[in-house]
């Protein structure tokens, strides 16, 4: 793929973000041109995908993600989404920010055991608008205990939404990622949401930590591969023929 066609990813960095480097490394593994975006940046147009990575933005004062939503760059996200310029992906603290900013429904509250939880969890990965829509995810070998295993690491990961929102989530197939064994008491086992209309994705698990075989888990690649195919189709491009060639490992 030439320079023009290269996927451009932006990783937003707030004071207190701590998964920025991990997210950038994951994007670069897929050959995406990736840049950090400091929290006071006001132009996002050049990016095909913008990540809100994990961490403790602004120290998680008041509540996780509560303060980050007032930053210039999050204000700018509204524009970016409205224009349907590309994808917005919030992971962990990023998911919390998206909910606080009302870009996704519901909120993330303190885990039901009140403790921070770090472990690998089994997840069901639901892809596509309609049942039966075939993608690379669906065709992967099923993994025992769920479609995939990803690390979680959060103190406030219990997803809560009111009845209305839960109905909307169901109707629009938004809960693309659910826990096999709910670790934190989330409603409907929800681990991740996808607003398909606006290309906004939020998830508590960390796919960016499950890319490299050296860490013993590569299940996160499926998420990035899926994202890539959606970004390319959003651009109106066919799945790049060269896709195989740029992915080693």
């Amino acid at each position: 793929m030439n320079e023009e066609g290269m996927i451009k990813a932006g990783v937003i960095v707030f004071p207190g973000t701590n998964c920025d480097i991990d997210t950038k490394r994951a994007c670069e593994f897929f050959g995406w041109e990736t840049q950090f975006i400091w929290h006071d940046e006001i132009s996002l147009d050049k990016f095909d995908v913008v990540f809100l990575p994990g961490g403790f933005s602004y120290g998680d004062y008041i509540r996780a993600g509560r303060l980050a939503r007032f930053s210039p760059v999050v204000m700018q996200l509204n524009e970016y989404i409205k224009k349907k310029r590309g994808f917005v992906v919030g992971i962990c603290n990023g998911f919390q920010i998206l909910c606080e900013a009302k870009l996704l429904p519901g909120i993330l509250s303190v885990n039901d055991n009140t403790k921070f939880i770090c472990e690998e969890v089994g997840l069901l990965f639901e892809n596509g608008h309609n049942e039966g829509e075939s993608t690379s995810i669906k065709n992967r070998e099923p993994i025992k205990g769920g479609d995939c295993h990803l690390p979680i690491a959060h103190g406030e990961g219990r997803y809560i939404a009111d009845e209305n929102d839960l109905r909307k989530i169901k109707l629009n197939h938004m809960a693309f990622l659910t826990y096999v064994n709910n670790p934190n008491g989330s409603d409907e086992n929800i681990a991740g949401l996808w607003d398909r209309e606006n290309n906004v994705i939020g998830m508590m698990p960390h796919p960016e930590r499950a890319i490299f075989s050296e860490t013993g888990n590569t299940d996160g690649r499926a998420f990035f591969e899926m994202l890539e195919s959606y970004i390319l189709s959003l651009r109106g491009e066919a799945l790049a023929l060269t896709k195989q060639s740029k992915k080693g490992n």
Partner: protein, 724 residues
């Protein structure tokens, strides 16, 4: 000030008559009030290492990089893995959450000051019995503090040890080890050169932690809770920002050196820099950014407010430093300059308020300790354990003892995967694995201690602790490269403690020479005792190893149908097993002699383990430590979720055979037992085939256990005490 009042002051500040007269000798005059405060902090045990310095020089340091700086390291390719362990025992006893949290903050800053990015944390925690409510409270608070702070700053907590023993009831031990990585040519020194600008970066200076250093230099008693204002409060959010800002500032070529504010705050950081650089310093205290406007010079100098760094910069680079701080919204001020004068001078609104030679502050007196063997040593050696329990009951008690049982309750609260470097996670192997993608290999990290053995025999016990840590690394596939230590003892002014300290320092030094690895850094914590109890002498050993490929890592898990083989020493009726965990758990017994490490055997075992690994003949590997032979087999099959059928009792005393602890043993599982045993025989290495991994049951020598029941006891032991 009148002389009479001054006597009051130096005594109140904890200086002895001898120390005060030594100060007068060195200065050729009486120190003024502020100077007396400065000496009281720098000549406290915590900063001055007065009882330990003489002995710490016995540690071998050959091969270490950046030894004698804030933290030392070992070289791997073009990079240096920097590491150091530090204690935060006293603050954690009084205020467990903040005490543990700021302990991490402090050790992270040491790594940062070298210019290294922190990539991993480990901890060694000791508490009183878990059934004791006070110990429970401290345990919960400490784990919570580590979790809160470590998780926020984005540094994974990847390994550790937690143990419970009555001796730690009043003085819990909280030792934290931090590991960082830096390119060798980017390492920064803490040495200052003259005619440079001094810049303070980070949080405002407040009244917290004043006299923390002298607080840590006395025994805890019922009044210790009144010392609570001495415990600093940490802010991991500011720390995370400070990490990024510091690393960016250190990229500037105008920045000459860097030092963190640790114990005794601005005083020790600034005086150590000029002492190491053999230059002078003029500091203008009215320029320091303060949280409380009415703070006095002595308070500014001694404050232990967290999240502050000191930079020595070429004058023309000062603005660049201030600009980076501004970008990160961190306060920063130019507060002085280094000079050629060899004087440490403090100014307050234009008036000189202190003027001291830097070496007088930095070179606290060194005390010589008593090395006479205390009576208890020979008394305990003679003690004999002549009681037995039914094996059924003993097995259940061991697997559910919190010292042996699963520590999942603890490590589940620590983010151990942030950073995307964790190759071996907690519970997977004897050591943690941190992927060094800059070089293509994996660093092995382990932390270990054995207070019971060191109590019984300070020299051999400490020597065994080092070798045990080596085995943790080797059983995970790593070659040991370097050591850091955190030496925890009671009051060194008491002869018994002095002996324990000196002998265990000698034991560590000897083991490091034998293993040919340097001690790169370390820390000493004395006065871990109350009027009722004193901690076991507990030298905590932190170790870093390396393997050049992730494919060469070894994990604990045994798989069904694999053969289980013991490689190394075997217990017989004459074996010394003093300090074994089972004696403490089953009978509250401590006595006898500890086993001695056989260096030649250890090296042979290392070689054969690596050879078998390279030939892909090892399924799971584990070194035999607490819980003995049974404990190791249990952990192997538990980790692989299988069972065991075979023989484990090879001496008359079944308990001793199953649970006794000696050095020089590994257990492996293998799918090619013929090939493995042929190899072992050809190299004349002692081994024993123990049995086979089979499903659902643990069966040996006529005993049979249901794995589901034992695994449940093991998994839920700590959770049952502490809540999910």
């Amino acid at each position: 000030m009148q002389t009479e009042q001054k006597i009051e002051l130096y005594k109140a500040l904890g200086l002895t008559d001898y120390e005060y007269s030594e100060i007068k000798n060195r200065l050729g005059r009486e120190p003024n009030t502020l100077e007396t405060y400065l000496f009281s902090a720098m000549w406290s045990e915590h900063c001055g290492y007065m009882h330990s310095r003489k002995y710490l020089s016995r540690f071998p340091s050959g091969g270490a990089v950046s030894h004698g700086e804030n933290a030392g390291g070992v070289q791997v390719g073009e990079h240096v893995i920097v590491f150091k362990a530090e204690s935060h025992n006293h603050p954690s006893a009084v205020e467990p959450f903040q005490g543990a949290a700021t302990g991490i903050g402090g050790i992270i800053r040491d790594i940062l000051a070298i210019g290294a990015r922190p990539i991993a944390l480990l901890d060694s925690l000791k508490f009183g019995k878990i059934t004791n409510n006070f110990s429970k409270h401290i345990f919960d608070g400490v784990v919570n503090g580590i979790s809160h702070y470590g998780n926020c700053i984005g540094v994974p907590t990847v390994a550790g040890e937690v143990s419970f023993d009555e001796s730690y009831t009043d003085s819990p031990l909280v030792n934290v080890m931090a590991v960082g990585i830096v390119k060798k040519d980017k390492i920064r020194s803490a040495k200052a050169e003259p005619n440079k600008t001094v810049i303070a970066v980070g949080s405002h200076t407040g009244r917290d932690g004043i006299h923390g250093a002298s607080f840590a230099s006395k025994e805890l008693n019922e009044n210790s809770k009144e010392d609570r204002p001495s415990v600093q409060v940490g802010d991991p959010f500011i720390k995370k920002v400070l990490i990024e800002a510091t690393l960016e500032i250190l990229e500037l070529e105008e920045v000459q050196s860097c030092q963190d504010y640790g114990a005794a705050g601005l005083l020790s950081s600034s005086s150590e820099m000029v002492y190491k650089g053999e230059c002078g310093l003029d500091l203008y205290l009215d320029r320091v950014h303060l949280r409380e406007a009415d703070m006095q010079p002595w308070e500014i100098m001694l404050s232990e407010s967290q999240e502050r760094m000191l930079f020595i910069v070429e004058p023309n680079g000062a603005e660049k430093v201030l600009n980076i701080a501004k970008k990160f919204d961190i306060p920063a001020r130019v507060i002085g300059e280094t000079t050629t004068s060899n004087k440490y001078r403090l100014f307050w609104h234009g008036v000189e308020v202190a003027n001291l030679p830097p070496e007088s502050l930095a070179e606290a007196p060194k005390y010589t300790l008593c090395e006479e063997e205390p009576e208890y040593i020979s008394e305990y050696k003679k003690l004999n354990l002549n009681r037995t329990t039914s094996i059924e009951e003993a097995v259940k008690k061991i697997v559910s003892d919190p010292n042996f049982a699963s520590k999942r309750w603890v490590y589940r609260q620590y983010d151990h995967t942030v950073g995307t470097r964790t190759s071996l996670k907690p519970g997977q192997a004897g050591a943690a694995g941190i992927w060094i993608h800059e070089e293509g290999g994996v660093a092995g990290l382990a932390i270990d201690s054995n207070g019971r053995q060191v109590f019984l025999n300070p020299y051999e016990g400490a020597r065994n602790s080092v070798w045990e840590c080596c085995r943790n690394l080797i059983s995970s596939g790593f070659k040991p490269l370097g050591v850091t230590d955190c030496l925890n003892y009671g009051n060194p002014e008491k002869d018994e403690v002095a002996y324990q300290f000196v002998k265990s320092v000698d034991g560590i030094a000897q083991a490091c020479r034998e293993a040919e690895i340097p001690v790169v850094s370390g820390n000493v914590s004395f006065y871990n005792e109350s009027p009722e109890r004193r901690v076991f002498p507990t030298p905590t050993i932190g170790m870093v190893g390396y393997v050049d490929s992730p494919d060469k890592l070894l994990k604990t898990a045994f798989s069904t149908d694999e053969t289980v083989i013991l490689i190394g020493k075997q217990i017989n009726d004459d074996s010394d097993i003093g300090g074994s965990l089972y004696q403490r758990v089953l009978y509250d017994f401590l006595g006898g002699e500890v086993d001695k490490t056989d260096v030649k055997l250890e090296k042979q075992l290392e070689e054969i383990i690596f050879e078998l690994r390279d030939k892909k003949l090892i399924g799971g590997c584990i070194d035999v430590s607490e819980g003995g032979l049974f404990g190791a087999v249990f952990e192997g099959i538990k980790s692989g979720n299988t069972g065991f059928k075979g023989n484990l009792v090879y001496s008359n005393n079944a308990e001793k055979a199953l649970f006794g602890e000696i050095t020089g043993r590994y257990i492996i599982s293998t799918a090619n037992s013929d090939e493995v045993t042929k190899k072992l025989e050809s190299q004349q290495i002692q081994y024993k085939t123990l049995g086979l991994c089979a499903n659902k049951k643990i069966e040996f020598d006529g005993y049979s256990f249901n794995t589901t029941e034992l695994y449940d006891l093991y998994d839920k032991s700590i959770e049952l005490e502490m809540g999910r």
